[in-house]
């Protein structure tokens, strides 16, 4: 079939015939390849961070490292693989053979977080390097001072974990035992080796599918249609950006406490320039880096920027090079968002919420119907201890307690109990009964928190209240997060959400309020853990909220009668 002379049909950038149908087939096939790779990791990995929280991303790239498709699982990983692929191609100066397998995590060569270790596999067809398959996953350990990687006391990268610049663990199909052993001699848990094998297996699954496609259609057809696909996607993205009025927009977001200096506050400043079909995010005016681990890398910060923008455009746009090409993101080294060598950066992914705040605030006047009010920021905790009844140790990241509400937008309430914007509902609560099986703790309460949602014509997502009794003596509790100083902001007359709070009440009545980056040891059995995760910000005048909906919410105890009267102006 040949292409006609239609006005809107996609055209091959390199000339030659483009079959619009084949284009759809390729788009679907690429997505199914990265999906299959994702399923492969999910089924074979052991760490719950991978198989439960799905903190990994799979990707397919062309021979030059251009993104063909991704399956991200968590949005914060949207931009975390593509830059590395291009870096690896540069690093080895094109010296690749069939059977190569390359590892990488280094945050100073386009990595995003030390624990996020990537596997890259070059794909060859007819003796040519034609594609790359890759998987990056958050490993259960990466060496460094603290098991698991969150070290609030780190000031340099070496206290956080081992650095892996691009390295071949298979060279032309030959296993490099020495390199493998060097890496894993520096990592605590054996399951990390297994999980990296799982990632390698998935890149192989993807490579086989890619070769099958090339055998079916030939390299020439693939190349032409690939470029046309980038083109079609770029046009979709440009159309979305083109609908934002031209201009310059600025916004700020705030980071509270760097883990070292009490009362410290840092500002993220973004200057956004929209010019026709291009959008530029410039973070040059952002505050300098901290001397702790509350710092981002270019990749983690740019990923946060990308995911925030992607939530403002058509969610069906394929995630390929064409989607990224209208974006320019400038983050100077030395800022809190791109700390530079050799800063500690493990907290970097969690700078996404204030970064997203800055972008929403900046673009609110330009595209009031597509931004959201502020989302609840994350405040998380992790307990480790010994379960006497089971005669075994346990580790628990308390996912269920940290998930507050999303910001509202024009026409839609914020999503309730969704959690941080970096995950956007991708990380789930532990099941209550499984929580009690796997820890000695006892859950007392996990419910929506009345009046936590920022009021508005469209209200913020509801926050929650969580209480549990700690069931082990001498428990260690690590806190990491924010959102206990500034609530999620309201927009266009909508009100703010509520704050995150965390309090421990020991059996003797002593109350302890941990800092938002803190390490507390020796917590006794019987201590009551109390946490609130705040609601999201509201949008528009609460007095305009639909009365029927409002009355239902009062009846359901989501909004109190008092708040309904005073904030929403409900008259009875």
């Amino acid at each position: 079939m040949s292409s006609g002379n239609g006005t809107n049909g996609p055209k091959g950038a390199g000339g030659g015939d483009i079959d619009p149908i084949l284009l759809s087939v390729f788009a679907r096939a690429f997505k199914s390849i990265t999906d299959e790779m994702s399923i492969s990791v999910e089924q074979t990995a052991r760490s719950p961070i991978l198989c439960e929280a799905k903190d990994f991303v799979t990707g397919l790239y062309d021979g030059e490292g251009r993104m063909l498709e991704q399956t991200e699982n968590l949005p914060i990983l949207a931009f975390s693989l593509a830059p590395v692929c291009k870096y690896i191609i540069e690093y080895f100066e094109g010296d690749f053979k069939p059977g190569d397998v390359i590892f990488h995590n280094d945050v100073f060569s386009m990595g995003n977080q030390n624990n996020d270790v990537a596997v890259f596999r070059p794909v060859f067809f007819e003796d040519k390097l034609v594609a790359w398959t890759a998987v990056k996953g958050h490993q259960a350990d990466i060496g460094g001072n603290v098991a698991g990687g969150y070290n609030p006391n780190a000031t340099e990268v070496w206290q956080e974990g081992i650095r892996i610049p691009p390295v071949k663990v298979y060279d032309g199909g030959v296993f490099r035992k020495d390199v493998w052993d060097l890496i894993f001699a520096n990592i605590r848990f054996d399951i990390v080796q297994e999980d990296m094998r799982s990632q390698m297996g998935a890149t192989n699954v993807g490579a086989r599918r890619m070769v099958a496609i090339l055998e079916k259609y030939g390299l020439d057809v693939f190349d032409r249609h690939k470029l046309a696909l980038f083109d079609a996607t770029r046009k979709m993205m440009e159309a979305e950006i083109g609908s934002i009025p031209n201009g310059e927009y600025s916004g700020e977001g705030y980071v509270y406490y760097d883990g070292k200096n009490k009362g410290s506050k840092y500002t993220i400043r973004v200057d956004i320039t929209v010019e026709d079909k291009k959008i530029k995010f410039d973070y040059s005016r952002t505050d300098g880096r901290t001397n702790g681990f509350v710092n981002g890398t270019y990749t983690s910060s740019a990923s946060a920027t990308a995911l925030t923008l992607l939530q403002m455009v058509n969610p069906d746009i394929p995630h390929n090079e064409g989607m990224l090409s209208p974006l320019e993101i400038i983050i100077p080294e030395g800022t809190i968002l791109n700390a530079g060598y050799p800063a500690a950066t493990t907290f970097g992914n969690h700078l996404c919420p204030p970064n997203a705040d800055a972008i929403q605030r900046a673009l609110a006047p330009a595209i009031p119907d597509r931004v959201t009010a502020g989302w609840n920021n994350l405040l998380s905790s992790l307990t480790t201890g010994f379960d006497e009844e089971k005669d075994d140790s346990y580790v628990d990241i308390f996912f269920m307690g940290m998930k507050g509400g999303a910001g509202a937008m024009n026409g839609t309430d914020g999503y309730d109990h969704i959690g941080m914007i970096d995950a956007s509902g991708g990380v789930l609560d532990q099941d209550y009964e499984m929580f009690e099986q796997q820890t000695p703790h006892r859950l007392i309460k996990h419910e929506y928190l009345e009046d936590s949602a920022g009021p508005g014509q469209w209200r913020g997502g509801i926050g929650i209240e969580t209480i549990y009794e700690i069931g082990s003596e001498n428990t260690q509790l690590v806190c990491f997060g924010d959102g206990d100083f500034e609530p999620a902001f309201g927009l266009f007359g909508g009100g703010d959400g509520t704050l995150n709070t965390l309090t421990l009440t020991k059996p003797d009545g002593e109350k302890v309020v941990p800092l938002n980056k803190d390490l507390i040891t020796g917590v006794p059995k019987g201590t009551i853990y109390y946490q609130t995760a705040g609601g999201g910000g509201g949008y528009g005048d609460p007095k305009k909220r639909d009365r029927k909906r409002l009355k239902e919410e009062v009846r359901n105890g989501i909004i109190s009668e008092k708040a309904a009267r005073e904030q929403y102006g409900l008259e009875e």
Partner: protein, 704 residues
């Protein structure tokens, strides 16, 4: 003359398959009556009686068995039209139902909202009570709180009540006490206690399942009551059986108690039917695909058993009851073609449905649908759709495709129609990948049994994309599920959560748990009058390595438990873990934990025997009814191909692709890459050109 009837109530049509000892099976279809589906059902029985020259009253007493699949609960859940339901739950966790563990399925879509809970918050009543993780009482049940909940429910005219307490999988005492109170005070309410329905660990799964059961219970109960009354009125004296999601059938009384087990009542018969047809060809494995008006269902049968999932979702509501693992995607004859912002052609998931339907139905549809493309490409006959009862508007279809697809893409109408056809086939192939590759199976190794009105027109191109060499299209493909219902056994599933290591297992307790479940199974099979010789019990264990999060379910012989053979049970677990995930921890000696013990009680039913045709030679020309110009999908070329009457084909006929085989309710497109042989059961075996060895066993049957 033993008459059995399988009845599948669908959105548009109610399908009937009638089998008798003394005649070939016959197919009937009537229009469904969504208001009260039992009306359409009786209308169909009237037609069947008429065809036999009898009145309904004469015919009804001669029916031995009716097996019935219903979408009453499916529809109630999808449209949120179930009963007004109240929930009694442990104080502190009353929002778990609505939170759904905090998931947002579409992470980039800020307009995506949560699904409304089946019980609103004000009807989720907390009560003080608490058990610990082993079921030991920490706080007694507060009777006053239960009474307050009952008062609330009464004042709100609640029709159904669900009870789910923390850790009740380990001890159902508190739930039982609360249930007795509710039963006494609200005798008409439909009541479900989670520890009765599903005593298995994972609070949210159990809670959501319990609520689904109560929410759907009153509707299903009312429907079955009405159906039983109608059948009694017309003089039916046989056995009525209801299809469940697990692929088994049960008596109406049992179905009424476990309404949530019927949520996949319709499609669950598909894989069973597929197995029936595959087994006729000596195959124990197969894929089944069913393409109807709006959706495409794909499932897999492995070693003679449809694959079962122990949990899944319906309309984003979690359900943790065993059900056949069926992947459904929005692709059907009504799927609408459209062009996205980037200029790419898409198909569905929006569907024209039955009303207004595709443009060619001429009922006011304006958007080009899959059926319109099939018509333009020549795969459907404008004058013989639904046996000629519905005339198709070819010009209307061409015009819609031209305006909405061809012109914007700069193509001819035929190119655009072929594009629609190819895109939807790619989508369906992806659905088949999900049920195979996702579970570690290679689709090329399985024959694909094809069903649904639109399925046989698309099967070859799905098969080509996945390199599936053999497909079986049953003559009854358009009423596939009704056929499957007649092939189903009685099945009752039971589960108990019991967390412990196999290494230091309490064998007496395990035996007791199994004995309890077997007792319940026997009681049900007694009620169904199944003799001992026709009973089977299948034990399955959900196990995991210590510290793992997910379990692996596997079948364990009851004898191994009787022998107290921990090593044998562990070996089975290691093997299944290895098969699924590519490794086991047998050598490392990692402890193995049991999480759930499951028992299925099966009552084997008598299956209809299909008449075997005698061999009629290879020449298909007696069935040739003409020629038609089509677009050959592989090449895009126009070609005149033979059209055969599928009702006149006989065992042995060999039909060379490309060709069309038309039946009253479906049409088979054999594309240029495939040939077809008619088998001795009246099915069509479509095989890849040059792979005659795949159908040789069929042809060898001519000797016998």
């Amino acid at each position: 003359m033993s008459i059995k009837i399988g009845i599948d109530v669908g959105g548009t049509f109610t399908d009937f398959l009638v089998t008798r000892d003394d005649a070939d099976p016959t197919i009937f279809k009537t229009l469904s009556t969504p208001g009260d589906p039992s009306i359409g059902l009786v209308n169909g029985l009237t037609d069947i009686a008429k065809a036999q020259g009898k009145s309904l009253e004469e015919f009804a007493p001669t029916i031995e068995t009716i097996v019935h699949g219903t979408t009453v609960t499916t529809n109630a859940t999808l449209t949120r039209n179930g009963a007004k339901t109240g929930l009694i739950t442990t104080e502190g966790v009353r929002d778990a139902l609505e939170m759904r563990r905090g998931i947002r399925e579409e992470q980039y879509n800020n307009r995506y909202t949560n699904v409304p809970p089946l019980v609103p918050r004000y009807l989720r009543a907390p009560v003080k009570e608490r058990l610990d993780r082993k079921g030991r009482e920490l706080e007694p049940l507060d009777i006053g709180d239960v009474k307050a909940a009952i008062d609330l429910f009464k004042s709100e005219a609640v029709e159904a009540v669900a009870i789910c307490f923390m850790n009740s999988f380990a001890n159902g005492e508190h739930e039982r006490t609360a249930a007795e109170l509710v039963a006494k005070e609200m005798p008409d309410a439909y009541l479900t206690a989670s520890s009765d329905l599903l005593p298995s660990i994972r609070f949210y799964n159990r809670l959501s399942t319990t609520v689904l059961n109560s929410y759907n219970g009153p509707k299903l109960r009312a429907y079955i009551d009405a159906l039983q009354a109608r059948l009694k009125d017309i003089g039916f004296k046989g056995v009525l059986l209801i299809m469940q999601s697990n692929g088994g059938v049960v008596l109406p009384e049992t179905a009424k108690e476990t309404a949530a087990m019927t949520l996949l009542s319709g499609p669950a018969a598909g894989p069973i039917a597929g197995l029936g047809y595959a087994e006729a060809h000596g195959q124990r494995n197969c894929l089944t695909v069913d393409m109807g008006g709006t959706s495409f269902d794909a499932a897999m049968v492995l070693d003679g058993e449809p694959i079962v999932a122990n949990e899944g979702e319906i309309n984003r509501y979690r359900i943790a009851l065993p059900m056949l693992d069926i992947v459904t995607i929005g692709a059907g004859g009504g799927s609408i073609g459209w062009i996205d912002e980037g200029g790419l052609l898409r198909m569905g998931p929006q569907s024209a449905g039955a009303d207004p339907g595709p443009v060619c139905y001429g009922q006011g549809g304006e958007l080009p649908a899959c059926t319109d493309a099939d018509l333009v490409l020549g795969y459907l006959s404008p004058g013989y759709f639904a046996g000629g009862r519905l005339k198709l508007d070819l010009e209307g279809a061409r015009k819609a495709i031209d305006e909405k697809i061809a012109k914007p893409l700069g193509m001819t109408i035929e190119e655009a129609a072929l594009g629609m056809y190819r895109v939807i086939n790619t989508n369906m192939a992806q659905g088949v990948r999900e049920v195979t590759i996702k579970r570690g199976f290679d689709p090329r190794e399985f024959p694909m049994v094809v069903a649904g009105g639109a399925g046989p027109n698309h099967a070859c191109m799905i098969g080509l994309e996945l390199e599936i060499p053999l497909m079986i299209v049953p003559r009854e493909s358009s009423i596939f599920c009704a056929a499957g219902m007649l092939m189903s056994d009685l099945k009752h599933d039971y589960v108990r959560s019991w967390v412990g290591r196999i290494e230091d297992i309490d064998w007496d307790k395990l035996q007791r748990i199994i004995g309890e479940m077997k007792g319940e199974g026997d009681a049900s099979l007694d009620a169904e009058s199944i003799p001992q010789a026709k009973r089977q019990y299948v034990l399955r264990l959900d196990c995991r390595y210590a510290k793992q999060y997910h379990e692996v379910a596997f079948e364990a012989p009851l004898q191994a438990v009787a022998d107290r053979d921990a090593a044998a049970i562990k070996a089975l677990f290691h093997a299944e873990h290895n098969r699924l995930y590519g490794y086991s921890l047998e050598e490392q000696g990692t402890p193995v934990e049991i999480i759930n013990v499951r028992l299925q009680a099966v009552g084997i039913t008598e299956k209809p025997a299909y008449a075997v045709e005698s061999y009629a030679g290879t020449d298909p020309s007696p069935a040739l009814k003409g020629e038609r110009e089509i677009i050959v999908p592989e090449t895009g070329e126009k070609k005149s191909v033979p059209v055969y009457d599928g009702h006149s084909t006989r065992f042995g006929y060999q039909i060379e692709g490309p060709a069309i085989i038309e039946q009253e309710n479906t049409s088979i497109l054999v594309t240029a890459s495939y040939d077809c042989v008619c088998d001795q059961y009246g099915s069509f075996a479509v095989y890849q050109k040059g792979r005659e060895e795949l159908v040789n066993p069929i042809l060898e049957a001519k000797a016998s």
